[in-house]
């Protein structure tokens, strides 16, 4: 903590001595402030205006993307029963996602404006196109596979998988490519957290109804994804340092704890008794609930971080001290 303050003070001095200001003597800074000042504690950046649809969209988008990959792999490897469940999960995901996104818009009647331009600098634009393209491929893949259970896969499956994988992780890119400090500073790890959470939800959804003899890949995936999600989260919080408090306190903290308990309990249930149908369904439900809570935790953390001006100012002061700023 004291190192934190020292660095903040050092940042102040670097700034004062930098090209913007005029050189000062040391004496003028004899009484360094304990911590950066704020404007009556008011936020520097605006918290998101997104409604509860968005964390649910993160969940359904992840479910859609990971399920599309799972369904395609199952189709190509000749596991029609598991493939069928995964195609249904993917179709549910790509159907719910646009509905949630449109509902969140300030002007839902103008949702088609999203596809008015294709803009590489906007993760929101690329995501809208990705969702539209994956929605088409997944719908086609699901229709073909439900009509022909013995189908061995082709171009629609390849497209659904290739577009599904980025669909599951781009929502992390979306929130990390912002000015919200607890999101943007988590940019190296958040996509892995989202990817693992998406895989866990896809496995969980498939396990709800598939018979145990066909479910082995989904069980393995569910256990592995929950463990990877937990590990990625631990690494993310560690790398965030003081910013991790946005994820550990308040509503974000409660959702985060719930996500951890639910996901790990689901994984433990699957590992211990997943060969029994009832246990597999229960474990799958826990994974799904854990994934929903995870997205809510991350969503709320963004609000908590944006609303705290010290998170913004400290992060930037440290950047100035370490890199000279403007990175």
């Amino acid at each position: 903590m004291s190192g934190d303050v020292d660095r903040a003070v050092a940042g102040r001095d670097t700034y004062v001595h930098g090209e913007r200001g005029h050189p000062r003597t040391r004496e003028e800074r004899m009484v360094p402030r304990e911590q950066p000042t704020t404007y009556y504690g008011r936020p520097v950046v605006k918290p998101p205006v997104w409604k509860p649809e968005i964390p649910f969209y993160f969940f359904f988008g992840g479910l859609a993307g990971a399920s599309a990959v799972m369904a395609s792999v199952a189709t190509f490897l000749g596991r029609p029963k598991l493939a069928r469940r995964a195609w249904i999960g993917a179709f549910v995901g790509v159907t719910a996602s646009p509905a949630l996104l449109v509902s969140d818009l300030g002007m839902p009647s103008r949702f088609l404006n999203m596809l008015r331009v294709f803009k590489v600098t906007s993760p929101m634009s690329l995501g809208a196109w990705l969702l539209a393209a994956n929605g088409g491929a997944t719908t086609l893949g699901a229709a073909l596979n439900l009509a022909q259970p013995d189908r061995r896969g082709g171009a629609p499956e390849v497209a659904a998988a290739a577009l599904g994988a980025p669909l599951a992780t781009y929502t992390a890119v979306l929130i990390c490519n912002t000015a919200v400090p607890a999101w943007s500073e988590a940019r190296a790890e958040m996509p892995f957290v989202f990817g693992a959470s998406a895989a866990a939800s896809a496995a969980g959804a498939a396990l709800l109804s598939v018979s145990p003899e066909d479910a082995a890949p989904a069980r393995r995936l569910g256990v592995a994804a929950a463990v990877v999600e937990e590990a990625a989260t631990v690494v993310m919080h560690k790398r965030l340092g003081p910013l991790a408090s946005a994820y550990e306190e308040g509503k974000a903290g409660r959702f985060g704890k719930a996500a951890r308990v639910l996901s790990l309990a689901g994984a433990a249930a699957l590992a211990a008794g997943g060969h029994r149908r009832s246990v597999a369904a229960a474990g799958g439900s826990l994974l799904l609930a854990g994934s929903v809570c995870k997205r809510w935790s991350v969503f709320k953390a963004g609000f908590q971080s944006a609303e705290d001006p010290l998170q913004t100012v400290r992060t930037q002061r440290e950047r100035i001290a370490l890199e000279g700023g403007g990175a």
């Binding site: 700034y15 913007r20 950047r319």
Partner: protein, 288 residues
């Protein structure tokens, strides 16, 4: 860009701001920005809070009492003189403000960044750069996705609840087209808000900072005038008398687009890892 108009902007010199709020009022009147009663903050003369959908100029009031002066020292003693000298070095005027108290006032506005996070993030093309180099939201295109709100490093844009769209300063785009200066700059009685061609404003600001430094106001500094900063320089920059964060301004704003490569790199790596993990969960079973 349609024509090659020179880039224009604001130079807001807070050292002469008197906190009259004429800019806030003129902006609201000209642009027909709705009223948004905030109530009484109880913290300062600032009862309008911050920039948002319904406030495109905002005057900040900072009341500072710095730890100077020596209690119990005899008048005109060396100890008291040293304390006064300290005041001068901090840019205060001991003759007028014996107790080291000062007011900082500053009219904040959209920065019209060279590299604008809102513009880069807008998925509809609603936000665009005008022929004057300013950044404007086209309200007939905006669908209220809200991404610009979190893409702005300054917390300038916000959604208007009544219509769901996002609104911000246009630098009076309509007035610029008729060769008129923006309403806030015209209304400012002290020329704290100066409008003009950006290159000329930067020169004027450099001269002003030199004058202030010569007068001993060594804490005066320019904010956002340099093209080397994290947003490529502001179209609307400032002269401040304290650290930016004192005024609710970020000390090192960086446009999110500058980290887009790294974020997408991690996103695609994670996508690949997830797909590989899913495939592995099947293949591990096939071997068994």
């Amino acid at each position: 860009m349609s024509a090659s108009e020179p880039r224009v902007g604001f130079f807001t010199d807070t050292s002469v701001c008197i906190g009259c709020k004429a800019c806030e009022v003129a902006c609201k009147e000209w642009n027909q920005v709705p009223a948004d009663p905030q109530g009484f903050t109880g913290t300062s003369y600032d009862n309008s809070g911050e920039l948002g959908a319904d406030r495109w100029r905002h005057v900040a009031f900072i009341e500072q009492k710095l730890p100077v002066g020596v209690e119990g020292a005899a008048p005109d003693s060396w100890v008291q003189e040293a304390a006064k000298q300290n005041l001068v070095e901090q840019g205060l005027e001991p003759e007028r403000d014996e107790d080291g108290f000062r007011w900082l006032m500053s009219s904040d506005v959209c920065k019209h960044c060279t590299e604008a996070g809102c513009l880069d993030g807008c998925p509809t093309g609603s936000i665009f750069r005008t022929e004057f180099g300013t950044v404007v939201v086209q309200e007939d295109i905006c669908n209220g996705c809200g991404y610009c709100v979190v893409a702005c490093p300054f917390g300038v844009l916000d959604q208007r609840e009544e219509d769901g769209r996002v609104w911000k300063c246009t630098l009076c785009y309509d007035r610029l087209k008729d060769d008129m200066e923006p309403a806030c700059a015209q209304a400012c009685p002290t020329d704290s808000i100066q409008f003009g061609e950006l290159a000329e404003l930067r020169e004027r600001a450099a001269d002003r900072i030199e004058v202030l430094h010569q007068r001993g106001q060594s804490e005066a500094r320019l904010y956002g005038e340099s093209e080397d900063d994290g947003v490529g320089g502001f179209g609307a920059f400032f002269l401040l008398l304290d650290e930016p964060e004192t005024y609710r301004l970020p000390p090192d704003p960086v446009v999110p687009t500058r980290m887009a490569g790294k974020v997408w790199g991690a996103g695609l790596a994670a996508a690949g890892a997830m797909a590989a993990g899913i495939a592995a969960s099947f293949i591990a079973g096939a071997r068994r």
